[in-house]
Symmetry: D2
Subunit: 334 residues, 4 copies
């Protein structure tokens, strides 16, 4: 509050804080009076105070997420998909596959290829969020069946996206891990429902989400009962034009300090450019990430979506070989 | 393509373009060879070409939305809510009300207040997307009933948000105009469903959406059969900290050049600060906007959400009075 | 500090604060201990505390600029160029002219045109900061002489940019108001020198400057002895592509609350598109700006720089006519 | 151009192109007519065409930098500081030291420490660009003398910033490599002068500069005669708040594709947080960077600037040890 605040203004702030169940304590400085509001303020809109007379600023001291926070949960969470595939705790898990499932043959072919190179999970969209209503939207349930067939052939775990409440139960039935896409990071209805299914969740950061918003979206899932959440950095919007998005690797160690949840990196969507994928994948493991999700397509020039960012299987194999070497230095197990 | 591209690389680009149904034409420059690909390219992923050998860049000449574009639809679209309330065509429509419906009394009180001041539509969320799972999430169907009661008392049209596929039918039943919120601008399942209802839609720009993405999201709704779409600018994410978002008024004339759809402005969510709402509202009408959506609360300091950005009814009335004067200068009818 | 901070950590923070001349006061909450540091903290790097053990965050309560702040200087500053041309205090000053001075004839022709339409000041660069070393860099002193000739013919005040320490004295000799360009907003050597000349200064916001950084740059000039500073919003960098920059009109009322300095708007550089200039100029006066700087060129298609954003003289005249009408509503005098 | 452009509009575009010395060639599509303008367009403002009637867009095919581009200079440039210290060509050079030179003892102490750990160059500002005019601005020439003393004691090469034309000659006399800071990346007067000195230059990316702008700023230096330029990524402005800036590692491989100049990374200024420095340094070498510039201070809590981002000497030594291991994997020589 301003230093010259009339005492009735200060008293009003204190009275409202008390009516909401908090204690207060004042500190007078040269140009301001600070009124400390003490208690669990995470459920209160700070704006309640900001609108009062003589109030200059409202500063938040306590972070608004509790289940996601490392404060009450100091050890790393391990998100286990079974059969020795687990995110967190010193492992580095590679998820690979095409942007979209295009056919039974395509997905089985690429599943073998990425498994041989060292991937533990298969990605591939059956339901595709596309900017244009006229673009290929995915094969739907047929795509899920093909993913299932690829899993049976290779033993890879299946990671695929659920786009809405309607398709979630079907996706959850087929998937080993349900992806919530970047555009849905703040689709709270979907997050809440995903919190009630019994499958691990891959939650991708929204393209303009702060770290707090990302952790709050995870909090929705945890608060609904599902604690098996893996976060994923996939680039943020910005002014630059040398890559589709700006990959924010600094969020990896930042998340690891604030939260106990694992975090992986998607260099394919982050850059949109196959020439930048491998350098960013190497950077991701060096930054401490718990894994990678990367697009691989047997014939990128024939891909129905995101062709420019898909690696060819042999490029992917070369990349994984170098990642194995980096993993040794970083003390991770691929 | 690079100037030194081997002729087989150029031929391959031409062959693939032909196989997709296009004609091609080459132009050789000093450092590049340009291969023009001619036809309706809106359904093709340009990356198909970007990955080919010797290809340097793929530049798009044709815009990827057709129904939303002014090119095939030169006159302004008029989105009519009935009883003389219509967006577009020289009118300036004011939507006002609280962030959330909190009680029957609250919404009826504020409905009378905003009507008296000059609003034609009442806003108020019954379903609220909140960053925190622990924050007030809205009254649900009760909230819709209270909005209906306020409409019956005042004659105001009701604008309220549908957050998901599940609640959409219920919201569409009560609302005169269904809002798709900023966080759902790229929730394509919701957009497609909204395209099949028989109610006007208020589509808010996502906080990091480009103009193309905004118009493509509108295209989803139009392509699904609903042409009564009003766009809404509500601020974008950026580095600055003097307002919650950065209100982008330049998108108003830019949209009006590219599209026939009306566009309104939300200065409340854009700024998050009641001190900035009126100046930005005046700027919006001066920039050529077709209307305004603004938060008004009878007692902002008791609001359950977004208190800091709500105007008091008397502040709102003062603001509307000045907007009327500006409207005369701008040739608009409030 | 964390709630479980050992008492020696808390004592260390207090001891360091005391050694720097501050008083302290502690407040204990549920998860944190707040140590208030009391005194004039504007000269201390807050990081000194951030690196100490158990310290979680350092929050700044007092703003770091004093001369620029409205707190100690409640009335608006009037920046007077003489002959009745003054920024601030209810006037709305229009500065117009070409991006660059190209010839004696060009600048005199356009000076007459903008004067007839209602401009009070003439803009035109003699020294041009250009992204490319191969682009036209301005006429230098010849350009200044032509500006002087145009001033003598029309009585308009001359506003022109000083790019570096070397050319500043020469520019200051010819100009009625010296412009510090956007790219130089944090060229502190230039700001300090500009603070020692006896000419009003137009300080343009950097393309990614926060409001605090803008006011701190003004503080450099004021602290060096020159209090005649006018700020200028000219758009910020962001992800969108419908305009060159994103015009941030909300900074106008925000600056007016925090500072006593006048602030004007540059819709030409902000948008880079002549179709968007007039709508943004109307929005600027409606938002409360104290003036406008706008590019006008007698023949935009022959301009040596920034052709796409220059208005033709007749477009400019139409725009000023409408601005006069808006000024009446906003209580401003053009 | 629009498909329905009258033929006189098309002819005008062709005529103007010809008058500027170019050939043209037309391609007609479904909704557009493309007029290819052929020749060295880098010296022409594209807006000259954009303002003409019926012109819809101007797309640039040729990049506007030639000396900096890899197209005419396919091999990597090696920037040699002598005594075996060279940037580019498979080496990974570490520059370390305090933000500012504070005293003779401090800089000599830290020089020994960083040399022992493996640094080849010493950083330390004698002239400091500070946001506040009241903050410590550096020791000036005294600081340069202390750097010289530290060089004599340790054999480290000295990298230090020149802030303006006035101090450049003095800085160039003492430094082995002259730094142009982020805020001066578009200070074209300084760039031009730096192009005429006979010392290698470290050019830091501006906090909202695109890759093209960065390379154009390098082009200023090369065009003025100095080809020994090393680029430096140091984070860009964005909306997020978990780090001071957003480190953009994807620009490293992007620059390496477009240009022959070496590029290093500054994780200290990018993050502003010592907890994030080491992870980002590891990520930098993994992304393919040619070196690192990092802040190290013997006693960060007593630093006069940027305390929160400085590593302690023992933290730095641990970091360099891991970088050596990563370098082996990446085929680099520290």
């Amino acid at each position: 509050m301003r230093r010259d605040a009339p005492s009735e203004d200060v008293l009003r702030v204190q009275a409202i804080a008390k009516s909401l169940g908090f204690r207060t304590s004042n500190v007078s400085g040269l140009t301001k009076i600070a009124v400390a509001i003490i208690g669990d303020t995470s459920t209160v809109d700070s704006a309640v105070f900001k609108v009062l007379p003589s109030v200059d600023q409202v500063l938040l001291v306590t972070r608004p997420y509790s289940r996601t926070s490392r404060e009450g949960h100091p050890e790393d969470t391990l998100v286990d998909l079974g059969d020795g595939v687990a995110f967190g705790g010193g492992s580095f898990v590679i998820i690979a596959g095409p942007c979209a499932v295009e056919s039974r043959e395509q997905i089985i072919e690429v599943a073998h290829q990425v498994k041989d190179a060292g991937a533990k999970c298969l990605r591939g969209g059956a339901f595709k969020p596309r900017t244009s209503p006229y673009a290929f939207q995915g094969l739907g349930e047929k795509g899920l069946e093909y993913l299932d067939a690829a899993r049976k052939e290779t033993g890879l775990k299946v990671v695929t996206e659920a786009m809405d409440l309607e398709s979630l139960p079907m996706v959850a039935e087929y998937a080993d891990m349900v992806q919530v896409g970047s555009r849905n990071m703040q689709n709270y209805s979907l997050l809440t429902k995903v919190g009630s299914i019994n499958k691990p969740v891959l939650l991708k950061r929204g393209s303009s989400a702060t770290i707090t918003e990302l952790l709050m979206s995870a909090e929705y899932i945890l608060a609904s009962g599902n604690e098996r959440v893996v976060l994923c950095e996939r680039g943020v919007r910005n002014f630059s034009d040398h890559a589709r998005n700006l990959l924010d690797l600094s969020i990896v160690p930042a998340v690891q300090r604030l939260s106990h949840l694992p975090i992986i990196v998607d260099p394919s969507h982050a850059t949109g450019d196959m020439n930048l994928v491998a350098p960013m994948a190497y950077a991701a493991i060096a930054a401490g990430a718990d894994g990678l999700i990367v697009e691989v397509h047997p014939k990128p020039e024939l891909a129905k979506s995101d062709a420019a960012q898909a690696l060819k299987p042999d490029q992917f194999a070369v990349m994984v070989a170098k990642i194995r070497q980096l993993a040794k230095v970083m003390g991770k197990k691929v």
